[in-house]
């Protein structure tokens, strides 16, 4: 062990009360930082997940007059050949059209969407959200939302006539195979969902799609990836949209939240650093006799300064560890005791190890940095002053 470290350790041990006081200050600081940080991250992830978890994050649309992507499979292959292929978690064509459900007494406007269920289920989770009946198996089978079923008094097995514009005079018939309930209100009320083939037939646009939808690994990279794909597919008659453009309000709210979280954390760090610096500064005065004698015995000024840097390091490490335990404990209590009636936490928290390590690192670093002030004083201390004053 280095001498400066050994002396630092003994100094801290000797002034146990003072050391515990600083460690508690760091502990509280780190725990507040971790608690608030994880909580706000949890809130944000939850919010983002609710907003875009079950929706397209990047959407490719046609810019042609007839608004179709002529051969969606070829387009998907092209997208998969770009450098962003690894970022994409699911990609599928969607064929959609407005449609009017024609009943005996009333017309009900709806939005008919046809998916390739194998891929689309990963995003929309239709299969998991069927509350009655089953997923469409045959052509011309559809599923509808719970709200529509209630509104129009429809049930599994019913057949409904739909009118697809612009051909308003020849309604087509589809059969309800199931009823779903998604987290999205409009979907439950007005979506009629079916296999992509069915919708292509209904619209008389075989082998085309209206759009291609994608989800990606890092939703916050959506804008970058979208413009990257756009560049890679230059010359195609398409435009690429991403969720960030469509949810600017949400994003600015998230930004505001992040900034306030960072502000809180910065002030916590500042106050903890000031606490460390001031207590260690007092400690330099308290230990000036020892420092004077060490200097008379030939300790180098640099080593005399290092003693306090090591004190900062030791205090920082202990504070960071205890603070992490306390902070994670608080988060655990929060997710365990602050729960919804169904037992799920009010705010689901994602334990972000990177963030915890970062908080610990910041605590240790700020402890060491604030220790440089007393360290410098200790280095400058003249042994004569101490020895002369007895």
């Amino acid at each position: 062990m280095r001498l400066a470290l050994k002396i630092a350790w003994r100094f801290l041990k000797e002034s146990r009360g003072q050391s515990l006081l600083i460690i508690s200050a760091i502990t509280i600081g780190v725990s507040v930082q971790i608690f608030i940080g994880l909580l706000i991250q949890g809130l944000q992830l939850n919010l983002v997940d609710q907003t875009i978890g079950n929706a397209s994050q990047i959407t490719v649309r046609s810019t042609r007059d007839d608004d179709v992507i002529v051969s969606p499979q070829t387009m998907i292959e092209k997208i998969k050949e770009t450098e962003y292929a690894n970022e994409i978690t699911s990609i599928f064509p969607v064929s959609e059209t407005p449609g009017i459900v024609r009943l005996e007494k009333r017309d009900f406007s709806s939005f008919i969407r046809g998916f390739d269920f194998d891929e689309a289920n990963k995003v929309y989770e239709f299969a998991q959200n069927i509350v009655e009946g089953e997923m469409p198996k045959e052509t011309n089978e559809v599923i509808i939302g719970t709200d529509m079923a209630k509104e129009l008094s429809l049930k599994v097995g019913d057949e409904i006539s739909v009118v697809i514009p612009p051909v308003v005079i020849f309604p087509k018939t589809v059969k309800i195979s199931g009823i779903f309930k998604l987290g999205l209100g409009t979907a439950n009320r007005s979506w009629i969902i079916s296999d992509i083939k069915t919708v292509q037939n209904l619209t008389n646009k075989p082998n085309t799609s209206s759009s291609i939808e994608m989800q990606i690994q890092e939703p916050f990279e959506a804008d970058v990836i979208a413009s990257g794909i756009q560049n890679a597919l230059k010359g195609e008659e398409i435009k690429i949209l991403n969720w960030k453009i469509e949810n600017e309000d949400l994003l600015s709210a998230l930004d505001g939240q992040s900034i306030s979280s960072i502000m809180i954390q910065i002030f916590v760090i500042i106050s903890v650093s000031l606490a460390i610096a001031s207590v260690l500064a007092i400690s330099v005065v308290q230990k000036s006799k020892q420092l004077g004698i060490l200097k008379a015995m030939g300790i180098k000024n640099s080593m005399a300064g290092q003693i306090f840097i090591y004190e900062g390091l030791i205090l920082g490490v202990f504070g960071a560890i205890l603070g992490t335990i306390l902070g994670v404990g608080l988060i655990w209590m929060f997710t365990t005791f602050a729960v919804n009636p169904d037992g799920t936490p009010v705010v689901p928290v994602y334990v972000n190890y990177g963030f915890i390590l970062l908080s610990m690192g910041i605590a240790v670093a700020s402890a060491v940095i604030s220790a440089t002030i007393p360290g410098r004083r200790s280095a400058k201390l003249s042994p004569i002053e101490v020895i002369r004053n007895g």
């Binding site: 062990m1 280095r2 001498l3 050994k6 002396i7 003994r10 100094f11 041990k13 000797e14 006799k289 020892q290 004077g292 004698i293 060490l294 200097k295 008379a296 015995m297 030939g298 300790i299 180098k300 000024n301 640099s302 080593m303 042994p383 004569i384 020895i387 002369r388 007895g390």
Partner: protein, 233 residues
């Protein structure tokens, strides 16, 4: 010259920049290797200033201080630290042990400054010194849990661990009763003989001064008296 361990040439010390106070005036002194010297004088005579300069704790305003052939007035802080560590042993009136360490650790401290893993030779030396100082039984006690006399003897052992050619002692017995004063004095003399260490004692205790080989009296920053004092111990 070879026998001179410490030499001061025209050493002046002036304190203050606006109001100047001169503490030492053109001091010329030489100390022989292995000698036992006492510096006496009233308070304000400049003896502490002199000790600080000899001890490389303070710089003279002008003049030369040569310790073991090295002119310390030309050295930077880092080099002075090394000189203090290797060439000079300090004993102070108030013992100044580190309360955070045991008596034994205090003795090893000057060595630790160079090497945290002392070889057996140094450990043996520490043990030998402590035994000689009658500290065998309190070796591993915290330095604050031992008596004043024991503390001062620990400080003596500490001053010797790096085998310095010079030991400076500032009122080493000033805080001790007469019995302990005697013990400490005899120990210092013994070491002086055994290790040929040069001792420079600052004291106002006439009895202690009388037992030195050479007595230098300072008055108002000048040498008032410098006598050899041949005694048998």
């Amino acid at each position: 010259m070879d026998n001179t361990v410490l030499q001061l040439e025209k050493v002046n010390k002036i304190y203050g920049t606006v109001v100047k106070t001169q503490a030492l005036f053109d001091l010329d002194l030489e100390f022989e290797r292995g000698s036992f010297n006492a510096i006496i004088g009233q308070s304000g005579s400049g003896k502490s200033t002199l000790l600080n300069i000899i001890g490389a704790l303070d710089n003279p305003t002008s003049g030369k201080v040569v310790i073991d052939g090295i002119d310390i007035t030309k050295k930077n802080q880092k080099e002075l630290s090394t000189i203090r560590n290797k060439t000079i042993g300090f004993i102070f009136q108030f013992h100044y042990l580190l309360p955070e360490f045991t008596a034994y650790e205090n003795v090893l401290m000057p060595y630790w400054m160079n090497n945290m893993n002392p070889p057996n030779e140094i450990i043996d030396k520490a043990n030998y010194l402590m035994e000689k100082m009658g500290l065998k039984d309190v070796k591993d006690k915290p330095s604050t849990n031992i008596s004043g006399g024991q503390q001062q003897r620990t400080a003596i052992a500490r001053s010797l661990i790096n085998n310095p050619p010079i030991v400076l002692a500032d009122e080493p017995t000033g805080n001790l009763d007469s019995e302990n004063t005697q013990t400490v004095y005899y120990l210092l003399r013994e070491i002086n003989k055994e290790f040929k260490t040069t001792f420079i004692l600052v004291t106002h205790d006439q009895r202690v001064a009388q037992m030195a080989d050479r007595i230098i009296e300072l008055k108002d920053g000048k040498i008032k008296m410098d006598v050899n004092n041949f005694i048998e111990v």
